[in-house]
């Protein structure tokens, strides 16, 4: 039995594990004693590997390149040469006709790793010539990246995950680690065992609320009012650290002009929180030696996401609960390499290493390194992923290169998204599975999966860790970075890397903060936590030590905001608030976990809609029954999970399900400051279904039909190429 060291491909905790290989197949997983997971894994880590083996439980692996010569025709298997020449030609035609700005690309925040992303953004900038490169952080912690860069200088966790267990107080604001990062939830449980106090602010009674010392049942959509009130309490009760503010924080007086109006009494109707409870929470957080505040999608997927992040940073700064090992900010990044995507500059306004695209000096540096004239690299901020729908409709985006994403599943208003993808002039999708999004593409390129290539992931807390290949890619699947460099070469910008380490060394040269992270240093259980500018010095466990913020004046900035109500509030027709959340046993678009036997055995379509017993009773809905859920955008069948953990008036669906697809109901409304969708708040209604037997049959039928449709779409890859009679069918 061989063992190959890897990092889990699911959440951003960054758990180290060994892939066990026998007879060329991955047969199991063993945990390793990584710095963050300490020999533990969650169910996805243990049992989320068999998708590599093309189990066909949900959809087939992509094995051969395919193209659609004309829109509306079925996919046809072709050779790599033909696929990439076809792609290069079509892209060039579009660039010639509409300009380089008309091409949009998106990076992958999962299996491919940092090196593949780096090569893709280099292709985007040096070959295509635009900054239209983005990643799924746009729908996730984008507001945290943007908000924290504004307020404190770096858009990342300021503390490390292991140190979360050493805090005296942990406040979770709109964050459910038991579902999104079980290994982080483990740290919180350990903190509690060590005597820490836990404060949970969440509309639902999440797992952590059960062990919380204070639970604040925040009303959905009231975040900014609550955070402003917290800040108000902090100042009015004299809990702030005046010396720290004088030395390290700017903008206080102007900021207070707004915050002074937000007494907890004045916003009680909005937040639903008893002012005394709010005061207790602030006192607990403020007076502890070391407090950490963690937040997640509950903050970021709302229309005032960036503003709330500004205020969370303000709260930590005025209380001097920041810049120490066990005190600071914990926006725990979702996916296993979404931190990496941002680190690698898969961002319309940033190069790798968080260097700004509109900075002429930075542009000059990259132009020189990449051997292109400066004018080739655009100074203009590019399109965001969430700009795609209206930019396509306005004719600004003609071509879209989708890399390892399933936007039809994960973006809001999926019915509209389908129309958008179908109306593209040219659509390339590079993935490992025939997903719903890839099924619409004109060019389908099979990439190698996690487990089939080497690379580096960036965990949520800025920790670079290496992962290695355990088996070879199947069929003709190629490493993603090889595909990009091949395409780029065919389009006139040659790239020729021999392996991922070469690519990584180029990243290090261009990003001073990553320079100390060599492959050698990350060997085995090694890791490097950025900023790590020097090879022979440790990386930074903690940011902002001694109150040194990464902003130009080295101070944190307090930015005031007024509360605004969410966009689509419930009404008579759609009286329930719809909030989309996460499954613990499946991940994101579910193309990987849905192909794993254990994980799909534990949880399968149509998924659940969580509702409060009162809301269910009025509608005659019983627990576990199938129901209709619908909004102004669409209607789906799903299963009722009636529980007291849910708050009355709101229903929760997870975005993993293809039949019970909550994104058919959500709407495309974004935070103007970040472009992040308001997934956490829209209006919907739920209806009981009388004939349950008929409903179950219907649901199974829909599921079977979807699987068949996607299998059929991929079927051409199994037909041998006519041009090569010696080639055997896959």
């Amino acid at each position: 039995m061989e063992k190959h060291m890897a990092v889990c491909p699911y959440c951003g905790a960054g758990c180290k594990l060994d892939l066990l290989v026998q007879n060329g197949k991955v047969v199991g997983v063993e945990p390793l004693n990584g710095i963050t997971n300490e020999g533990e894994l969650c169910l996805k880590g243990y049992y989320g590997f068999d998708f590599i083996n093309d189990t066909n439980i949900l959809v087939p692996r992509l094995l051969h390149p395919m193209i659609r010569r004309k829109k509306g025709q079925p996919l046809e298997r072709v050779s790599w040469d033909e696929a990439l020449d076809f792609t290069a030609k079509k892209l060039q035609e579009i660039i010639d006709k509409y300009g380089p700005e008309s091409v949009m690309l998106t990076g992958s925040s999962r299996g491919p790793g940092n090196e593949a992303n780096f090569v893709m953004q280099k292709f985007t900038r040096a070959c295509i010539g635009n900054n239209n490169i983005d990643n799924c952080a746009r729908t996730c912690h984008g507001p945290s990246v943007i908000g924290l860069m504004d307020a404190v200088g770096s858009g990342a966790m300021s503390v490390s995950i292991p140190n979360m267990e050493n805090a005296d107080v942990i406040m979770l604001f709109g964050y459910n680690p038991s579902a999104s990062h079980p290994i982080v939830a483990r740290r919180i449980v350990k903190a509690k065992e060590k005597g820490a106090k836990i404060i949970v602010c969440d509309p639902r009674y999440i797992e952590t609320a059960r062990i919380a010392d204070l639970y604040l049942p925040l009303k959905n959509g009231s975040n900014l009012a609550m955070m402003n009130a917290f800040c108000n309490i902090a100042v009015n009760e004299g809990l702030i650290d005046k010396n720290f503010i004088d030395e390290h924080v700017s903008g206080f007086d102007e900021w207070w002009e707004t915050i002074k109006n937000y007494t907890p009494e004045s916003v009680q109707d909005i937040t639903g929180i008893d002012p005394e409870l709010a005061r207790q929470a602030v006192r607990m957080f403020a007076t502890a030696d070391n407090s950490i505040i963690g937040w997640g999608m509950g903050v970021t997927q709302q229309v005032q996401g960036v503003m709330v992040v500004h205020t969370i940073a303000a709260f930590a700064c005025i209380l001097n609960q920041i810049g120490r090992d066990n005190a600071g900010l914990a926006p725990v990044r979702g996916q296993n390499n979404v931190q990496g995507s941002c680190d690698m500059g898969m961002w319309p306004s940033l190069y790798p290493g968080y260097q700004k695209v509109n900075d002429p000096a930075i542009r000059a540096k990259f132009a020189k390194a990449w051997n292109v004239p400066e004018e080739k690299l655009s100074l203009k901020e590019g399109f965001k992923l969430t700009d795609l729908p209206h930019a396509v409709r306005e004719g600004k985006i003609k071509a879209f290169y989708n890399f390892g994403e399933d936007g039809l599943q994960t973006e809001p208003d999926s019915i509209d998204m389908k129309n958008v993808l179908e109306s593209l002039e040219f659509y390339i999708s590079q993935d490992i599975f025939m997903t719903q999004s890839t099924a619409l593409a004109d060019v389908v390129l099979p990439g190698s999966s996690w487990g089939e290539h080497d690379g580096v992931f960036s965990a949520s807390d800025r920790t670079f860790q290496r992962f290695t290949a355990a088996v070879s890619p199947p069929g003709e699947a190629r490493h993603d970075w090889e595909i990009f460099q091949d395409l780029s070469t065919r389009m006139g910008y040659p790239m020729h890397y021999n392996n991922t380490e070469e690519i990584w060394n180029e990243v290090r040269e261009l990003c001073p903060n990553f320079y100390g992270a060599t492959y050698e240093r990350m060997e085995g259980l090694g890791y490097a936590q950025w900023p790590v500018p020097k090879v022979d010095e440790p990386g930074a466990t903690t940011l902002y030590k001694g109150g040194q913020f990464n902003r130009p004046d080295k101070k944190a900035l307090l930015i005031p905001h007024d509360f605004k109500k969410p966009t689509e509030e419930p009404d008579d027709q759609y009286p329930l608030i719809l909030c989309t959340v996460r499954e613990v046993g499946h991940y994101s678009c579910r193309s990987m976990t849905g192909n794993c036997q254990a994980l799909s055995g534990l949880a399968d379509e149509p998924g659940y809609i969580t509702m409060h017993p009162d809301d269910a009773a009025i509608r005659g809905i019983q627990d576990q029954q199938l129901v209709w859920a619908f909004s102004r955008r669409g209607k789906v069948i799903t299963r009722a999970d009636v529980t007291e953990r849910c708050n009355k008036g709101t229903v929760y669906m997870t975005y993993q399900w293809w039949i019970g697809k909550c994104n058919d109901l959500t709407m495309h409304q974004t935070d103007p400051l970040s472009g992040t969708p308001e997934d956490k708040f829209s209006a919907c209604q739920v209806e009981a279904i009388a004939d349950q037997v008929c409903a179950e049959n219907h649901m199974q039928d829909l599921y079977a039909k979807l699987k068949k449709r996607l299998a059929d779409e991929a079927a051409p890859q199994n037909v041998a190429l006519k041009s090569d009679p010696s080639m055997v069918a896959a």
């Binding site: 243990y46 049992y47 038991s178 579902a179 483990r186 449980v189 797992e207 059960r210």
Partner: protein, 179 residues
């Protein structure tokens, strides 16, 4: 002799279901379908998995008309071939820790079906008796919420409590004297 079973600590449980996945995958599937033998329960206040207590005077053993359930040392064991799927054990168990799963098998000779039989299976925790490393749920639980409780551990815990109580009594007595 005491019984041995797996108990979960709701203070440490994060409701992730890793124990269920491990249990499913570490036992042979039934009719090709992997099924867990512990049930994760989530009420408002509590998340914790429930599994067989291997009771010393097990109602399930007493209720089984075919003696498909029997005692093997400190465990309640199952003779699968005797189960007739009458569900008496399911009703008898106070923990809801035992379930019957029905499978059907079709026997053919030369493509002709000569028997369509129904085979019920008793599904309950077997303490992973065939695994040298012990219960899969206990080893995979990332917060170490699941523990094996047996006579020895109960004795130790009980003794600890008595020692503490005795120590407390001593302090109380000394204070009392001073007063």
């Amino acid at each position: 002799m005491g019984n041995k079973f797996i108990a979960g600590n709701p203070n440490l449980c994060i409701g992730c279901g890793t124990c269920m996945a491990a249990c499913m995958m570490e036992h042979p599937p039934i009719d090709g379908v992997p099924i867990p033998r512990l049930a994760l329960i989530k009420t408002r206040q509590t998340s914790v998995p429930i599994s067989c207590h291997h009771c010393q005077d097990a109602p399930c053993v007493a209720s089984c008309p075919e003696q498909a359930l029997y005692y093997e040392g400190t465990r309640v064991e199952v003779r699968e071939n005797r189960c007739i799927g009458c569900s008496s054990c399911v009703l008898a168990c106070p923990y809801g820790a035992i379930e019957i799963v029905l499978t059907t098998s079709t026997k053919t000779i030369g493509g002709v079906v000569y028997q369509n039989s129904r085979k019920p299976y008793v599904l309950k925790c077997d303490l992973c008796v065939s695994k040298p490393e012990g219960p899969a749920c206990v080893s995979t639980c990332l917060t170490k919420s699941l523990k094996i409780v047996d006579e020895a551990s109960i004795k130790t815990s009980t003794q600890d409590k008595r020692v503490k109580a005795a120590q407390a009594a001593e302090i109380a007595a000394s204070q009392f004297e001073l007063a």
